[in-house]
């Protein structure tokens, strides 16, 4: 149990990040690399392993940010973890991108109650509501969902709001009076995915590599 190594991937936005949890020491590489995720993602993984003095075959499980997010970005992540899981015969852990975003808000600012709103383009927003649970992990209060900007309804309670939808649709979003603060510059990261994945690994919430399929949420694409 003490020798757990998890490699985590976050490719759902314009930022590509990879994290390595090596016996609870987490390191991360990230880059604002829109449209270049395919070129950098495996190099990041190898660099992290090199720095930790590990080989890819030492990795116990891979995890990834499984959506919602950029369709293409999610498929970069899915292709990588399906292939690593298959080739190394290790399990995959699917993590909600919005949960990772909430977790990153906790990591950065200690926020324990957050409504997340990520730009889904086409005047729509991916939303989720998370609160800090056991093990210092942000847990969903409701299922992640997709909503149009006009129909967005933010709970009027003492919570924070985080995500890039706030700046994208600034003029169209009405912030309720009880909101404590807002962060439009927080993105999901691989280190946040990694924190959630480790917990899921111990709870046996892993899957076969072939089951690492993006949760697009937006399924009407034609």
């Amino acid at each position: 149990m003490g020798n757990l190594q998890i490699l985590s991937f976050e490719t759902s936005s314009s930022i590509c990040s990879v994290a390595l949890d090596n016996k609870s020491v987490v390191s991360q590489l990230s880059e604002q690399s829109a449209n270049r995720h395919t070129e950098v993602v495996l190099g990041f993984a190898q660099k992290l392993l090199d720095e930790a003095g590990l080989r890819l075959s030492d990795v116990s499980a891979v995890s990834w940010s499984a959506g919602p997010g950029s369709f293409t970005g999610l498929r970069v992540g899915a292709s990588v973890v399906q292939s690593l899981g298959f080739a190394l015969k290790i399990p995959v852990i699917n993590v909600s991108t919005l949960q990772a975003l909430a977790q990153e808000a906790y990591i950065l600012h200690g926020i324990d109650d957050v409504f997340v709103a990520m730009d889904a383009r086409m005047s729509e927003i991916y939303c989720g509501y998370y609160k800090l649970g056991s093990n210092n992990l942000m847990q969903p209060e409701i299922d992640d969902y997709l909503v149009s900007v006009e129909k967005l309804s933010i709970p009027n309670c003492k919570t924070y709001i985080a995500g890039n939808a706030l700046s994208e649709y600034e003029e169209n979003i009405c912030i309720p009076s009880n909101i404590v603060g807002k962060f439009d510059d927080i993105f999901p990261t691989a280190r946040a995915v990694s924190a959630i994945a480790k917990y899921k690994f111990y709870k046996n919430e892993t899957c076969d590599p072939i089951k690492a399929i993006p949760n697009y949420i937006r399924n009407k694409v034609v």
């Binding site: 395919t38 070129e39 950098v40 495996l42 190099g43 190898q46 890819l56 369709f71 293409t72 498929r75 970069v76 899915a78 292709s79 990588v80 399906q82 292939s83 690593l84 298959f86 080739a87 190394l88 590599p209 072939i210 399929i213 993006p214 697009y216 694409v221 034609v222």
Partner: protein, 331 residues
């Protein structure tokens, strides 16, 4: 030497194992069905389906070939041309498996794969030859002096021949709107009722144009009051004959110009029976080479083979960066 090939450039997910000693060991193809109701391939749906199916096909191809990690020497994947989102899935998977297994990878040009598909047959052609690559995305004549040494002789200036077939299937409202439905109904057509022009055949030029023919079909069809199946069959025949006579004529011209005497037919339209028959009549059975029907349409056997060939020439890629090339030109 054994090569795992992966193909996801359009609406077929495929994986195969080619061995230079024992030939093709396995090949698996899944043809997507999600597009039929949309009258054409929807890129986003194609990419989504590749993510669901490709790994399973890779596993099946390996297990049928009784191959494990240690038996595979390299991994070849289609890097282009094709749909960007679709190419990404197979490319990223190919590169990642190669990385995890510490093997070289090879980015294969899909068109080179088609061109080399007849090499998988017992009666494989020997270069030099002229290749006609004709599919839903391409129509081109290539002078192949040797494998890897290609010269473009001519190509379509607008629609690919297969694309024209697909569009005509839609205009005539045939079944699932696939080009093969046009070929099927054409067999019942009256061969004398319509005569359509043979585009770009009046000059000694090896380029093609098929979009005008498609418009001709539209006008003829619209001019018929209450068209019945026979009308559709008659138009389909005239259309197919115009396309195929044009292809045959240009192939003959290409062989004359290059002074070569062997023709290789590749790509999805290469499965068209009438095209095969007409080429054999005009050029003689011994001069025309084509792969079996299942290797005309997209498959990974040809990608594994092309990967092996490139590897045998010392080309391989040990980098960890993947670049898909949706517009990668063969020549």
């Amino acid at each position: 030497m054994k090569v795992l090939g992966i193909e996801t450039s359009c609406d077929e997910s495929a994986a195969a194992i080619y061995c230079d000693k024992d030939g093709l060991l396995s090949h698996k193809v899944y043809s997507q069905t999600v597009h039929s109701e949309h009258g054409g391939v929807v890129p986003e749906l194609a990419a989504r389906d590749h993510i669901r199916k490709t790994l399973g096909l890779i596993e099946d191809a390996l297990s049928e070939a009784k191959c494990s990690k240690d038996d595979v020497d390299a991994i070849a994947y289609t890097a282009g041309p094709g749909l960007a989102g679709a190419l990404l899935v197979g490319s990223m998977m190919g590169k990642t498996i190669a990385y995890a297994w510490n093997k070289p990878s090879i980015a294969v040009n899909h068109m080179e794969g088609h061109l080399l598909a007849p090499m998988l047959e017992d009666s494989a052609p020997k270069p030099p030859f002229v290749a006609l690559i004709v599919s839903g995305g391409h129509t081109m004549l290539v002078d192949v002096q040797q494998i890897g040494e290609y010269r473009l002789l001519g190509e379509t200036v607008d629609d690919a021949a297969g694309e024209a077939f697909d569009k005509v299937a839609r205009l005539l409202n045939l079944g699932k709107y696939t080009g093969s439905e046009v070929a099927k109904i054409a067999e019942l057509g009256d061969k004398k009722r319509f005569k359509f022009p043979r585009p770009m055949t009046k000059t000694r030029n090896l380029d093609f144009s098929f979009s005008g023919l498609k418009t001709k079909v539209l006008y003829e069809y619209q001019s018929i009051e209450n068209p019945v199946e026979q009308d559709k069959a008659d138009i389909a025949w005239a259309f197919q004959e115009a396309v195929i006579e044009t292809l045959v004529k240009k192939c003959k011209l290409a062989l004359q110009d290059t002074r070569l005497n062997a023709l290789v037919l590749a790509g999805g339209v290469g499965a068209n029976k009438y095209l095969r028959q007409r080429l054999a009549e005009e050029l003689g059975d011994n001069s025309v080479f084509y792969p079996r029907i299942e290797f005309c349409t997209d498959n990974a056997a040809m990608i594994a083979y092309a990967g092996w060939w490139n590897l045998s020439q010392g080309r391989k890629d040990l980098s960890l960066a993947v670049k898909v090339k949706p517009r990668w030109k063969l020549v």
